[in-house]
């Protein structure tokens, strides 16, 4: 299943746990768990893109004009790519 999920991730530019779950006919929660497993095992990395500051929002002069959007991305690591090459 982890390999299948890794393959699903490699095939697309966007994902949601529900879309992977639908494609593989498994539970959304299981997909989230499997993605966590892949993260922990170093096959993928996760980033949350948002203002990444040293100071806390409460002390920041730009806090109010700051945008609250944050977008999660996954990147397949070299270790993950090696697995994909062998599938």
């Amino acid at each position: 299943m982890l390999k299948q999920i890794l393959k699903e991730i490699s095939k697309t530019r966007i994902y949601s746990p529900s879309s992977i779950a639908k494609n593989l006919n498994i539970d959304d929660e299981l997909v989230k768990d499997a993605i966590n497993q892949l993260l922990r095992m170093g096959y993928i990395t996760e980033e949350e893109i948002k203002p990444n500051c040293d100071s806390k929002c409460s002390g920041c002069a730009y806090h109010f004009s700051c945008n609250t959007i944050s977008i999660k991305t996954l990147t397949i690591t070299e270790k993950g790519r090696q697995i994909l090459n062998n599938i």
Binding site: K22, I49, S65, I69
Partner: protein, 663 residues
């Protein structure tokens, strides 16, 4: 006293079971040497006392967190007589991953299928007897929150602890790995350890560092053998975890019945349209256009004018009061022309800003922005840019400072530098008053369209410059990434209003602080030296502006007033309108600036001026952030100068081509 350990995933209801069993007879402390909370308690059953320990909630028994290590070590060292594995029935597939690991350790396990009422509500049917048979351990249905099934659970757990045999469940990892497990196990068996050697062998093949340390300490295994196992672990690790999931899937397929999933959710249906390969970008553009159009319809046509009239009214009253108390003329002039004529002009556009931020807030809260980033990602990749760079660009719509801070998350230098250098082309909120005052003066009928075109032009210029930087300045390879699309949700009115208010409040605060300082300084320069006509070309400000104005002659707005307003905008963009308000109108009535601009600018020079303000040198705060983030004066100066040059070139092209075409 027999010891019962409670193990389970976070939120499986494990602590509810613990509380139901122990009541007030519990103690909370810390596990030795770590900051993980330790909960222990006692209860009596059939006149016998039992000790219960609530292990930290974990998804597996790996070594990825302190929680996992604490739970694993407790079980591994044989500290419990029986483990009650609390499983969330509504999420059984996920929860059984931990169960399989407990079974592999070989401890006595009783599975508490908790939250059975919720599972029933979701039409999930679990064949408890079949599940028990497949797992090889007792399974009991419970609803811990209602105290149901707990007596049965305790009875079975105690009976199993006293009389039952440890589970013999074995997961097959495929012929090759199974053979390797057996080979390692036979080596480990020679050490006469107290540990379950098959489980130790599996963990070694999973590359578990903690187990390697344990084996080095407690087993007779030479370093070469361990190194060769470690090499194999790199290949087997994923296979082992995968086989566990396969084992769970096989059990679930024969013991659990679930309603089939909805084939296509509403989110899927919407995403099919809004993330479409060809329609995605036009839809994004259409949404933004509608937002800008609505901003003008609601903000200007319905609400516009009231704030301007109010500011004018207050200005008149303040000046009347100052006259009444015989204030000096300079103070009256400063208050009426500097403060109300300048800063007051910025305030007149608050209704439009309120509406725009409200509508953008709805868009952000709905989850659409991730889709916008995705469709732009496609375009950016086509141009050889990294799609991630668009996310800081979206953040930059509010303010370029956090937009630039958002580039920190880009992993390679190329992506980061490009995202950082093109971010100032994104129209921040501070530039809105400039657009709004010129749109009101020259394009009132097409406000939404002009505003949309300005924002779109900023994005297009950012993409063009990004492409050029990618080709000539930074040539590293970009990494491939996948974006998560969160499900859509109905925007929560309270949050949208709060976010809107925060931004408007920030706008007001800036008007009262930095804009006030800039306008005050420039007002002094515009009335000095004594004896000259205030706000005239002979004033200090007029003379400075006159020296610099020829720069903008080819762009069609080479007046000293426009020049000083643009340079004041480098301190803070809102200052452009405030300074124009002061030097052109200098009186309190709301529409004075608009009327003055209509006399000095033409629609063509207005467009040229708007293009300049959109693209030229970012504000001081943004430049400061670029300096901090790049740690380079060279890149900061480059950013200030190249944006100025781009703004100037575009403004000149617009004016010269427009003039040739007869506009």
């Amino acid at each position: 006293m027999a010891v019962i350990a409670l193990a389970g995933n976070p939120n499986s209801g494990k602590t509810t079971v613990f509380n139901a069993l122990t009541g007030s007879n519990q103690h909370i402390g810390n596990w030795p040497g770590v900051t993980v909370e330790k909960k222990e308690g006692k209860f009596k059953y059939n006149n016998k006392q039992y000790y219960v320990i609530d292990l930290p909630g974990t998804y597996s028994l790996g070594a990825y967190s302190e929680d996992e290590i604490v739970a694993r070590d407790f079980i591994l060292h044989g500290n419990s007589d029986v483990v009650i594995n609390v499983v969330d029935s509504t999420n059984i597939e996920r929860n059984l991953y931990l169960t399989t690991q407990l079974l592999e350790i070989g401890v006595k396990v009783v599975v508490a299928l908790n939250m059975m009422d919720e599972a029933k509500q979701r039409n999930i049917e679990i064949d408890i007897n079949a599940l028990s048979e497949k797992l090889g351990v007792p399974v009991v249905a419970t609803i811990a929150s209602k105290n149901k099934g707990l007596d049965d659970l305790i009875e079975k757990a105690i009976k199993y602890a006293e009389d039952g045999e440890s589970p013999k469940t074995k997961i097959s990892y495929g012929e090759e790995i199974d053979k390797e497990i057996e080979r390692i196990k036979s080596i480990l068996d020679s050490s006469n350890s107290k540990y379950p050697n098959r489980w130790i062998a599996i963990k070694l093949l999973e590359g578990d560092e903690e187990i390697y340390k344990l084996v080095e300490k407690e087993f007779n295994l030479d370093k070469d053998s361990l190194s060769s196992i470690k090499e194999k672990a790199a290949t087997y690790e994923l296979e082992i975890v995968d086989k566990r999931y396969e084992f769970i899937k096989n059990i679930i397929s024969t013991t659990v019945k679930k309603p089939s999933k909805e084939v296509e959710t509403l989110t899927d249906k919407i995403d099919k349209i809004v993330t479409h390969k060809f329609w995605g970008i036009p839809i994004f553009a259409a949404i933004m256009f509608v937002i800008f159009q609505l901003t003008f319809v609601i903000g200007q046509d319905l609400l516009g004018g009231y704030v301007g009239e109010f500011v004018g009214f207050i200005g008149e009253k303040v000046v009347d009061f100052l006259t009444l108390i015989n204030s000096p003329e300079w103070l009256k002039a400063f208050i009426s022309e500097g403060i109300f004529g300048g800063i007051g002009t910025v305030f007149e556009f608050i209704p439009l800003i309120v509406v725009l931020y409200f509508l953008l807030g709805i868009l952000e809260d709905s989850g659409y922005m991730a889709r916008a980033a995705y469709v732009m990602d496609g375009l950016m990749r086509a141009l050889g840019l990294h799609g991630k760079a668009f996310i800081p660009m979206i953040v930059g719509f509010g303010c370029n400072v956090p937009g630039i801070m958002a580039t920190r998350t880009l992993d390679n230098k190329k992506d980061r530098m490009i995202a950082l250098l093109i971010n100032p082309f994104m129209s921040c909120g501070a530039r809105l008053p400039i657009y709004l005052v010129f749109i009101s003066a020259f394009f009132p009928e097409h406000g939404g369209l002009v505003l949309f075109l300005l924002y779109a032009f900023g994005i297009i210029m950012a993409l063009i410059m990004g492409r050029l930087f990618s080709k000539y300045l930074f040539k590293e390879e970009s990494s491939h990434f996948i974006m998560e699309l969160p499900p859509y949700r109905l925007p929560i009115f309270k949050y949208v209003v709060r976010s809107m208010w925060d931004k408007v409040w920030d706008f007001l605060q800036r008007a009262g602080t930095i804009i006030f300082v800039v306008v005050s300084l420039l007002w002094i320069l515009s009335v000095l030296p004594f004896g000259v006509e205030p706000y005239s070309q002979e004033s200090i400000l007029g003379r400075i502006g006159t020296v610099l104005a020829p720069i903008f002659k080819p762009a069609g707005f080479g007046t000293w007033q426009a020049t000083v307003s643009l340079f004041a905008g480098i301190a803070a963009k809102e200052a452009v309108v405030a300074v124009l308000g002061m030097v052109y109108a200098g009186v309190t009535e709301g529409n004075e600036l608009i009327a003055a601009l209509q006399q000095v600018f033409t629609p063509l020079t207005a467009v040229s001026f708007l293009a300049m303000t959109l693209l030229y040198t970012p504000c001081a705060a943004t430049l400061g952030t670029i300096k901090r983030e790049t740690n380079s004066i060279k890149w900061t100066v480059f950013s200030a100068l190249y944006t100025f040059a781009i703004g100037w070139i575009v403004a000149v092209i617009i004016y010269q081509v427009g003039s040739l075409l007869g506009f």
